[in-house]
Amino acid sequence: MHNATEAKGPSEELKKPLERRDFLRYTGLGLAVGGLALAGCNDVMEDVSKTQSASDAHLTGLVNVGSGDAGILNYAYALEQLEAAFYAQVLMGKYYNGTSAPQRVALRDIEAHERIHREFFKMAITAAGAPIIKDLEVDFSSIDFSTKMGVLSVAKAFEDVGVAAYNGAGKLIQTPAYLTIAGKIVSVEARHAAIIRDFLEYNTFVGPDVVDQSNGLEKSMTPAQVVAIANNYLKEGSKLYVGDLPTE
């Protein structure tokens, strides 16, 4: 799949960042932190110009999260949809009803948090006037909602991947206000991840699978790496395409 950027050639490509840099300078950090209303206008324009490439993805039945900051927000919205749907089903399942009170309290809280994240993105993306992806249809047929391993191992995977996804997406964001929003959410996902991991095996809250033991930094995942996992839990027609997101 080729997008409009590559067709522009080197001179256009080199001109773009200058425009973006000026845009960021003039919006100013202090102003932009105030809210979503001051979204990156350049990116919205780019989104409009890139709708042609989005149609390629639709032909193959994929949901294109889009490009620029709007694409990142939709990417986050997609992941929150997945998490919210998962915990909603957990709360209706056999394991939740039979497990310990501390686990029920935690799972109930986490369900609320993820539902709030999902609804927040839906409202925020709409309010920003950006394109928004559809309600995704999940496929949890591989998950056993009746056992501890079935529920908590998938919860752990979703939370860890969620943290890694936000960590990897932060640098792709152009608008400071959006970066702050992502930061506000990712630490809550990390809190979730730690307690879920501790429920599975105590003191594994910063295991070597998620934190690089050489420098104490959590590992990031790229959007492509994340959707390779997320798409396993989405039905045909709801699987995600992130090829138009920025990569640097």
């Binding site: 080197p10 490509e13 080199l14 773009k16 960042p17 840099r21 960021l24 950090l29 202090g30 105030g34 809210g35 979503l36 310990s100 501390p102 309290v105 935690a106 809280d109 609320a112 948090h113 709030i116 927040f120 925020a124 309010a127 943290v163 960590n167 932060g170 640098k171 400071p176 206000a177 970066l179 702050t180 929003i181 930061g183 506000k184 959410i185 990712v186 630490s187 809550v188 990390a190 809190r191 979730h192 991840a193 730690a194 307690i195 501790d198 429920f199 105590y202 003191n203 809250f205 910063v206 934190v211 050489s214 420098n215 104490g216 930094l217 959590e218 590992k219 990031s220 990569t247 640097e248």
Partner: protein, 293 residues
């Protein structure tokens, strides 16, 4: 890896990148235009060598990035020596506690060493254990805020929670100030989420482990009643400056949206779902309680 994108990104933060890489600007742009045709395996190697050379003279870090990273380094020292003293205090912890505090201590030391390496010659002079007074008496110059912090597990964990939750807010507040350096921004985010995992675990420890119910939760509800020691820790959960940009942890308004307008969402849940950033000055005011000077 797209060579044009890399150069374009760098040009955003360093307009002179082409001059740094090669005085013959036009020649280099010509090379960049052919980047895509070079063997994919050789391009990253060539680029890496060029960047290393180009930035060898200057650190490549802006003054703002240097200041934010030194601020973070100070907080990591604060945490590291605290946990290190806890680990080395006899009979403070049972085995499972000691294992967790040791893991966290080691993470904080790695963060110290990582930030020192990134900052290089721009790093602040190393801080020593003697630079900190975790009772909050500032080296005996005033009455201690938390007497016997290394004698009682609950006192130690209360302060640990305050440090971790402060660290999470500090990195979150610092992130937008690092946007002109993607490498540093991503590293800061990668530390930020580790601090949040620490905070979650310390809260579980204070609750009495994974079999116990009650408070504190692993996330922050409202202002958490001012935290574990409200007379000392309330600022950890309160607003920063300005409060519009750095609201308290009880905040339920995100990007102009009132989260309690979502059906079946309470104010407590809305506040838990989002952590809040804190500004440098407010964080330093909290931290300075435990600095001797």
């Amino acid at each position: 890896m797209n060579i044009l994108n890399i150069l374009a990104e760098i040009e955003k933060v360093d307009p002179e990148v082409y001059e740094r890489l090669d005085q013959r600007r036009q020649v280099f742009k010509h090379f960049a235009g052919f980047g895509k045709k070079l063997a994919a395996s050789t391009v990253p190697l060539a680029m890496g060598a060029m960047f290393k050379k180009a930035y060898a003279q200057s650190s490549g870090l802006s003054q703002q990035v240097i200041e934010v990273l030194n601020f973070a380094l100070t907080l990591e020292y604060l945490e590291y020596y605290f946990y290190d003293m806890g680990v080395k205090t006899r009979n403070l912890f049972v085995q499972a506690d000691l294992a967790a505090i040791t893991i966290i201590r080691d993470d904080e030391l790695k963060h110290v060493n990582f930030l020192k390496a990134v900052l290089g010659a721009n790093a602040i002079a190393p801080l020593m254990a003697s630079d900190f007074d975790y009772t909050g008496s500032k080296g005996g110059k005033r009455a201690p805020l938390i007497p016997e912090v290394f004698r009682y597990r609950q006192n130690f964990l209360a302060l640990a929670q305050a440090f971790e939750d402060t660290g999470v807010r500090a990195y979150k507040g610092g992130a937008p100030l690092l946007m002109d350096n993607n490498t540093v921004l991503e590293a800061a985010l990668n530390i930020h989420s580790v601090e949040a995992r620490h905070a979650s675990h310390i809260r579980t420890m204070r609750r009495g482990g994974t079999q116990a119910n009650g408070l504190p939760k692993s996330w922050i509800t409202g202002t958490d009643g001012g935290g574990p020691l409200p007379s000392v820790t309330a600022p950890v959960y309160g607003p920063g400056m300005p409060a519009d940009t750095y609201p308290s942890e009880a905040n339920i308004m995100q990007a102009g949206i009132n989260l309690t307008s979502i059906p079946n969402v309470t104010a407590d849940q809305a506040s838990e779902a989002f952590d809040e950033p804190l500004d440098v000055a407010t964080v330093l005011a909290i931290a300075s309680n435990f600095l001797v000077k």
